[in-house]
């Protein structure tokens, strides 16, 4: 056997005409099952149901409402508290505070990152501030905030803004820095003011990082808010979900406590799955910057 094959013995040919496959053969329709399991919503709902069933089953085995209430009684409690309006009012209260604090935090974050990317002082300031404040738990500032702003909305807003600014600024700044030189030069070629350069080139180019910054800030803000409400629980009367949980725990109404927790989870999932999902779909996915999930 030789390692080099003898081509002179091999048949050569040129196809007389290339027959293209008909479109039916190129595009094969998916089977019904494949279609269903290609839908992320359906897949995740099924997963959720399974987890819910495990909860229900385990709670029946434990059979102690003070340790682990059944999922069905939690849902019933949630329904009941919503019907009489308490949970709705509490949730509304929390969400209002959250949206205001989040918006202020993101706004300040934008200003800081824009300064950081256009000036050297701004960049030093951002790097220093994020290094200092990002690891500082917002809730640790609450006692101080209560001294400055009194007990109530002002203090909660303060810690909320603090918790939202830094993760957002850190992610956005990292996103700006990662924009390729080519894209920057292509942008600088278009006679833009520094502000427009950030708004029209860097911001869309860094959109994946900005969105992940928005998500992380949202989660941080939500957590901080609930934690702050729990601390305030004993003194504030018009509180939010955190206060609801605190109050019901004092009454040993465990299904209500779980209902409050579950509601926090549901709101988180909705914001992630609807608001941010839509934002991603309209921006980074359409622009080919992110794969669809």
């Amino acid at each position: 056997m030789t390692l080099v094959s003898d081509n002179s013995k091999r048949h050569q040919y040129i196809a007389a005409n290339v027959v293209k496959p008909t479109s039916a053969r190129i595009v094969v329709p998916r089977s019904a099952w494949s279609k269903i399991f290609n839908n992320a919503l359906i897949r995740r709902t099924v997963l959720m149901l399974i987890i819910g069933l495990i909860w229900e089953g385990y709670a029946i085995i434990v059979a102690n409402d003070l340790v682990l209430p059944k999922l069905s009684s939690v849902l019933a409690a949630m329904w009941h508290s919503s019907i009489n309006g308490v949970l709705i009012i509490r949730t509304w209260h929390s969400l209002q505070t959250l949206v205001v604090g989040y918006a202020i935090g993101i706004g300040i974050g934008h200003v800081i990152t824009t300064l950081a990317i256009t000036t050297r002082v701004g960049s030093d300031l951002l790097v220093m501030l994020t290094a200092m404040f990002n690891p500082l738990p917002a809730i640790a500032l609450l006692p101080l905030a209560m001294l400055w702003f009194g007990i109530g909305q002002g203090s909660i807003l303060f810690v909320l803004v603090h918790s939202a600014i830094w993760p957002f600024a850190l992610n956005t700044h990292a996103g700006y820095l990662a924009v390729s030189d080519t894209l920057r030069m292509a942008g600088r070629n278009c006679a833009l003011t520094p502000f427009n350069f950030v708004a029209q080139i860097l911001m869309p180019a860094a959109m994946p990082s900005i969105i992940s910054g928005l998500k992380i800030s949202w989660a941080f803000g939500w957590r901080t808010l609930i934690a702050a409400e729990l601390v305030f629980g004993a003194t504030s009367s018009g509180g939010g979900i955190g206060w609801f949980i605190f109050e019901r725990r004092n009454d040993l109404k465990l299904p209500d406590v779980f209902a409050g927790l579950l509601l926090i989870v549901i709101i988180g999932v909705l914001v992630e799955g609807v608001v941010f999902r839509l934002l991603e779909y309209r921006t980074v996915q359409r622009w080919g910057m992110m794969r669809s999930v």
Partner: protein, 290 residues
């Protein structure tokens, strides 16, 4: 290097090469400046590295005339892209001066639109049409004019069907076409092309080169084209600046054979090749000596 080395290389008739190494030969006959669009005088470009300063080009002189298809040719490390970026206004020369229409270049401008080698130069958040329209913010054209003009240039580069497509759905060749359309559509003083077709496959590359020439025949713009390919330089260019590397210096400035036979073009290419090889082997020899 001795001034005589270049004589040893067989060169086609009528081409006079200048030696670049001794400083006296840097003096060159001044040309009628009314024809000159871009003039580079004694341009030295340097990059500040962490510990030292790296010189990309050393006292480079050249003139680009109106309607030139001016090629900066050289191997990697000869500073050709840096020169282009300096003309684009992205780098400031540490010595010498680059001027356009007699005015020194001061920062990037839509009058000097750049086309890059990289495929990510299009704004991914804009469709092809929006990409082509975007730089027109520098012009006082009406919105209707802009769209019309953008469409006509998109037609010219053969992307009519893809005007509303986002860049990530296009192939590499189509992206480069879109970038060329974007740069041309605002009618800049000069088009700066940084190896715009180097990252494409050979077939697409040849087709784009031909299309570029066809567009030039039609519109007679001025372009400065950076390449490392001798073949491409001779094919696309009307005048070639040959640069020797480390640091980039002018080795020769040549007119392309306008309508030569195949053998003449081949000789010309051969001649440039030997010129580049010669600087190369000298460097190796120098390196060994040190």
């Amino acid at each position: 290097m001795k001034a005589s080395t270049i004589v040893g290389v067989a060169k086609p008739m009528g081409i006079v090469a200048r030696n670049t190494v001794t400083e006296t030969t840097l003096e060159r006959p001044r040309q009628n400046s009314s024809e000159v669009l871009v003039r580079a005088e004694n341009v030295t470009l340097q990059y500040a590295a962490r510990a030292s300063v790296v010189t990309a080009t050393w006292r480079v002189n050249f003139d680009v005339h109106y309607g030139d298809r001016y090629i900066l040719l050289g191997q990697s490390g000869c500073g050709k892209s840096s020169l282009l970026k300096a003309i684009g206004g992205f780098i400031r020369p540490s010595e010498g001066c680059i001027s356009i229409r007699g005015a020194p270049i001061n920062g990037p401008s839509p009058e000097r639109m750049m086309v890059f080698q990289e495929f990510d130069q299009l704004f991914p958040w804009k469709t092809v049409l929006e990409n082509v329209i975007f730089p027109m913010r520098a012009r006082s054209w009406t919105r209707k004019d802009r769209i019309e003009r953008a469409r006509s240039f998109i037609d010219k580069v053969g992307l009519t069907k893809f005007a509303n497509a986002y860049p990530h759905t296009l192939s590499g060749g189509m992206k480069q076409r879109a970038a060329i359309a974007r740069a041309m559509a605002i009618e800049p003083d000069i088009l700066l092309m940084d190896e715009p077709v180097a990252a494409l496959d050979a077939l697409t590359r040849a087709r784009l080169q031909d299309e570029l020439l066809r567009l030039w025949e039609e519109l007679r713009f001025t372009m400065l084209f950076v390449t490392h390919s001798i073949d491409e330089a001779v094919r696309v260019g009307s005048r070639i600046l040959v640069l020797s590397p480390h640091p980039g210096q002018v080795r020769a400035e040549l007119n392309c054979p306008a309508s030569g036979g195949q053998s003449e073009v081949k000789d010309f290419e051969q001649w440039i090749t030997s010129m580049l090889h010669e600087t190369n082997s000298e460097q190796v020899a120098e390196g060994n000596a040190v």
